[in-house]
């Protein structure tokens, strides 16, 4: 297979500094830069001597910038250093077409790194460690609620993920209910509150996600109470709603919480549950729906806007261009999965040996985004003006895209993937995305009223088995009428939404592409006062804010970051 350079973002900015923006780096240099190998303390290069010094200098400068950065804490520095090191390795083998598409970012690997040595998302079956304890961690099986919570707190530190912080902390009511007998309501409340405080302060990532429901139970109610009271960014929270199982009261509590703090998400449990087996599913990170005791090895994504730009017209798009780039994205996925499964030795972990997870239960997420832009481009190419989200013809093109992509994913076998097929995903964006709308969403700020919004997007939802989400922005008059939120939620789920998520415009806690930020923190940053939580956003709109303020938030969405300096 021909070796073709993959320019990662780190090297891109490195080269920009080296040659300036006016002089594009040559392909040759790009190849050289990707042949670094760490060997003990010495760097070995595939470079000629004249380049070697300059490149070395640039690398050292980059690493020094990280080690000496005044806005990062040591753990954040360690993480960025490790990313830089990983990305000095050559990329897993790709054919030239795939590599080119990746370089042009028609397809994208979410900057997961050049050597996938851990799955992107891991969803341990925490019931195993609660039931059996852990030999590796020298833990006996917990017997009390305190011991159970403590066991989970320990377990979280051993769960790998793309960010190093667990994206799934479990179906908490199922896990903790067995230990609640004889525990008073007040005790339960105080213990959950401490647990919640620990999660936010020690595992500060807005993508860390807890699940509760569908039953109405003491633990779920207490979690909802504490979550509304503390209004923390972490953990993210999903209530799984099943009209046959959940009570109307607990759904009302959950939707009242949304009015209060824009959390939790409400998942359409029956739709998700039927796709999975008895070990179930978890909603993790930013609305990703994945098998428990497994997860997702990788998330790659197709930029539909870029695909549409390469098509002559709608028919050309569907007949040739879309299937072509989708195939390239499959190859990118395969290369990454191959590395993880066959080279990284990840699956020798005690998590496998002790049964927390299963090698066979890792799916891959097949992401797509920028549908709004793609549809509008295709409309224009066919001489029509109707806009995505508003115009029936435009919306139909969108539905056709979703249907077509689901079919392609369904027909493409993959090795070392749960059930042999990828799972389609409406991807909600990362901080560097510019001029593109997450997933199949309607461009931010132009959305119609929440009911029209739901009705325009509901037909897409059936196709996105590993997750799709729309953020409905509701104005603050709803605070006097929380019943309306309940009704909207029921309407959305009944219309086929897999997930109901809403932001109340005036809330302090609000959602940027899919995770929470605190507006008051951003305001404090603006006044240069700093704040205890240091929480703000890495999404494109908020990145400006963090840039101006020149410091990194304590609680962040690590997944959104494409690397140091991005």
């Amino acid at each position: 297979m021909k070796r073709v350079p993959i320019v990662n973002r780190a090297n891109m900015s490195l080269k920009k500094r080296l040659w300036g923006n006016k002089h594009k780096p040559t392909t040759e240099i790009a190849i050289d830069l990707n042949h670094f190998e760490m060997a003990g303390s010495r760097l070995k290069f595939g470079l000629d001597p004249t380049h070697k010094g300059a490149v070395m200098q640039e690398i050292f400068e980059k690493l020094r910038n990280i080690t000496n950065d005044k806005t990062l804490n040591p753990a954040q520095k360690a993480r960025y250093l490790s990313l830089e090191a990983e990305n000095m390795l050559p990329y897993p083998d790709l054919d030239s077409e795939t590599a080119e598409a990746l370089q042009q970012r028609v397809i994208c690997d979410m900057y997961e790194g050049h050597a996938p040595y851990k799955p992107r998302y891991v969803l341990p079956d925490y019931s195993i460690v609660l039931k059996n304890g852990s030999e590796y961690l020298e833990l006996s099986a917990p017997e009390t609620l305190d011991e159970a919570i403590n066991t989970l707190m320990i377990a979280y530190h051993h769960v790998p993920s793309v960010t190093g912080i667990p994206v799934f902390i479990g179906q908490l009511d199922d896990l903790l209910l067995p230990y609640c007998e004889g525990v008073s309501d007040d005790d339960l409340y105080r213990k959950i509150k401490l647990f919640w405080r620990y999660l936010d302060r020690v595992l500060p990532d807005a993508f860390m996600h807890a699940n509760i429901g569908p039953t109405d139970n003491r633990v779920a109610r207490t979690i909802l109470r504490v979550d509304a009271e503390l209004k923390q960014i972490a953990p993210n929270l999903t209530f799984r709603y099943d009209p046959e199982i959940s009570t109307e009261q607990i759904l009302a509590i959950a939707t009242n919480n949304i009015v209060e703090c824009s959390k939790p998400h409400i998942a359409n449990h029956p739709i998700h549950a039927k796709l999975f087996d008895e070990r179930g599913y978890g909603i993790v990170s930013c609305y990703n729906v994945l098998p428990v005791a497994g997860g997702a090895s990788t998330l790659t994504r197709v930029n539909l806007k870029e695909v549409a730009l390469r098509a002559d017209n709608i028919e050309h798009f569907f007949a040739e261009v879309l299937p072509h780039y989708m195939e390239l994205n499959f190859r990118l996925t395969e290369a990454r999965v191959d590395y993880l499964f066959n080279k990284s030795n990840f699956f020798t972990s005690f998590l496998i040996d002790e049964g927390w997870m299963d090698r066979d239960r890792f799916t891959v997420m097949y992401g797509i985004y920028a549908m709004a832009e793609a549809v509008n481009i295709l409309q224009e190419k066919d001489g029509r003006t109707g806009l995505y989200g508003f115009d029936d013809v435009a919306n139909e093109i969108g539905y056709r895209m979703s249907k077509e992509m689901a079919k392609i994913v369904e027909n493409r076998p993959l090795e070392n993937v749960w059930r042999g097929r990828a799972m389609l995903h409406s991807q909600a964006g990362i901080s560097i995305d510019e001029g593109v709308t997450p997933g199949v969403r309607i461009p931010y700020g132009t959305e119609p009223d929440p009911v029209s919004h739901v009705l325009a997007l509901a037909p897409h939802h059936q196709y996105y088995s590993s997750g799709i989400s729309e953020i409905l922005t509701v104005d603050e008059t709803i605070k006097n009428n929380p019943e309306a939120m309940l009704q909207l939620c029921k309407g959305a789920l009944e219309s086929g939404f897999r997930e109901f998520t809403a932001n109340v415009a005036s809330n302090d806690l609000v959602r940027v592409t899919g995770y929470m930020v605190r507006l008051s923190d951003i305001a404090k940053f603006k006044e240069c006062k700093g704040s205890r939580t240091n929480t703000t956003a890495l999404a494109s709109e908020a990145a400006d804010v963090t840039g101006i303020l020149d410091r990194k938030p304590r609680v962040v969405g690590n997944e959104l970051s494409a690397g140091y300096g991005q």
Partner: protein
């Protein structure tokens, strides 16, 4: 029933401010009050086909056909120039809508709806239609879970109330002022019928909320607030009172010179009501 048509200014399938939950709201055209503080004054008049609006339309969405102003919604770009030029606070963009039309909309949006609210204008001016609509909703197995509400100024006789209340689940009743002179000055009408209506509706157990618009220097006076308090208490301390704050949004004419009602001012009135024993006092979530 199907031949009955209402003159409708607007239909919304999403509203969280017109009764409990999310509601389908039908704004009926025409009002028997002429409030200087009205935030949608273009719903007050009923088009007399004078044609003054036709030259104002820059996209030719309006035309005179057989002596009547005809509106083409597909050409309209919603600039609202016709509303601003209308000499009688009417709208040439109204639609004639049947009960069946509204039932269709309600069915399509059913999962999102807690109920239907008729508003206006003054909804009770098209009483026959409102009664027919509510009756049809109650008779429809797919829709009878929806509550039927009226948002009204209450200017309606006792017998009409009786007919309306048999098919209505809740009423939001606006009291513009207690002092008869103030009320007349603000609305052009007396308030006797309105005050009587509040008792009739309350006695029927269907007063969802009493609404009161606080206007600085006019209805936020000690005297008005005292009367509001007494009146609310006479209905029962559990009557829900919603205080609205006069704002400039949508308002035309002299009232734009009046100061806006502040949050502090509204909270003072709310505090007074609560101290007097009114258990549920709602204040605005938003001040524009």
């Amino acid at each position: 029933m199907n031949s009955l048509l209402a003159t409708v200014n607007k239909i919304l399938t999403y509203s969280v401010v017109d009764g409990p939950g999310n509601r389908l709201v039908i704004f009926l055209q025409g009002c028997n009050f002429n409030c200087s503080t009205c935030h949608n004054p273009y719903t007050v008049g009923v088009c007399d086909h004078c044609g003054d609006c036709i030259p104002a339309c820059h996209v030719d969405a309006l035309a005179m056909v057989d002596g009547r102003v005809v509106f083409d919604p597909t050409a309209c770009d919603q600039c609202d120039a016709c509303l601003h030029i209308c000499p009688i606070s009417a709208s040439p963009m109204v639609q004639q809508v049947s009960v069946a039309d509204i039932l269709d909309i309600a069915r399509k949006n059913r999962p999102f709806l807690s109920g239907i609210t008729v508003s206006g204008g003054e909804a009770t001016l098209q009483l026959k239609f409102v009664i027919a609509l509510f009756k049809a909703v109650k008779d429809d197995p797919a829709l009878n879970g929806l509550t039927c509400f009226v948002d009204t100024n209450g200017h309606l006789g006792a017998q009409s109330w009786e007919r309306l209340l048999t098919v209505t689940d809740g009423v939001m009743l606006d009291i513009k002022a207690f002092d008869p002179a103030t009320h007349h000055a603000l609305t052009g009408q007396d308030n006797a019928k309105t005050l009587k209506a509040a008792k009739i509706v309350r006695d029927a157990g269907k007063l969802y909320e009493l609404r009161f618009l606080a206007i600085p220097g006019k209805t936020d006076t000690e005297r008005e607030v005292a009367k509001l308090t007494d009146f609310a208490l006479s209905l029962g301390s559990d009557v829900r009172v919603r205080l609205n704050a006069f704002q400039h949004h949508g308002v035309r004419g002299d009232a734009l010179e009046w100061p806006k009602m502040t949050e502090t001012g509204v909270n003072k009135i709310a505090e007074h009501l609560r101290k007097a024993g009114i258990s549920e006092v709602i204040t605005p979530a938003l001040y524009l």
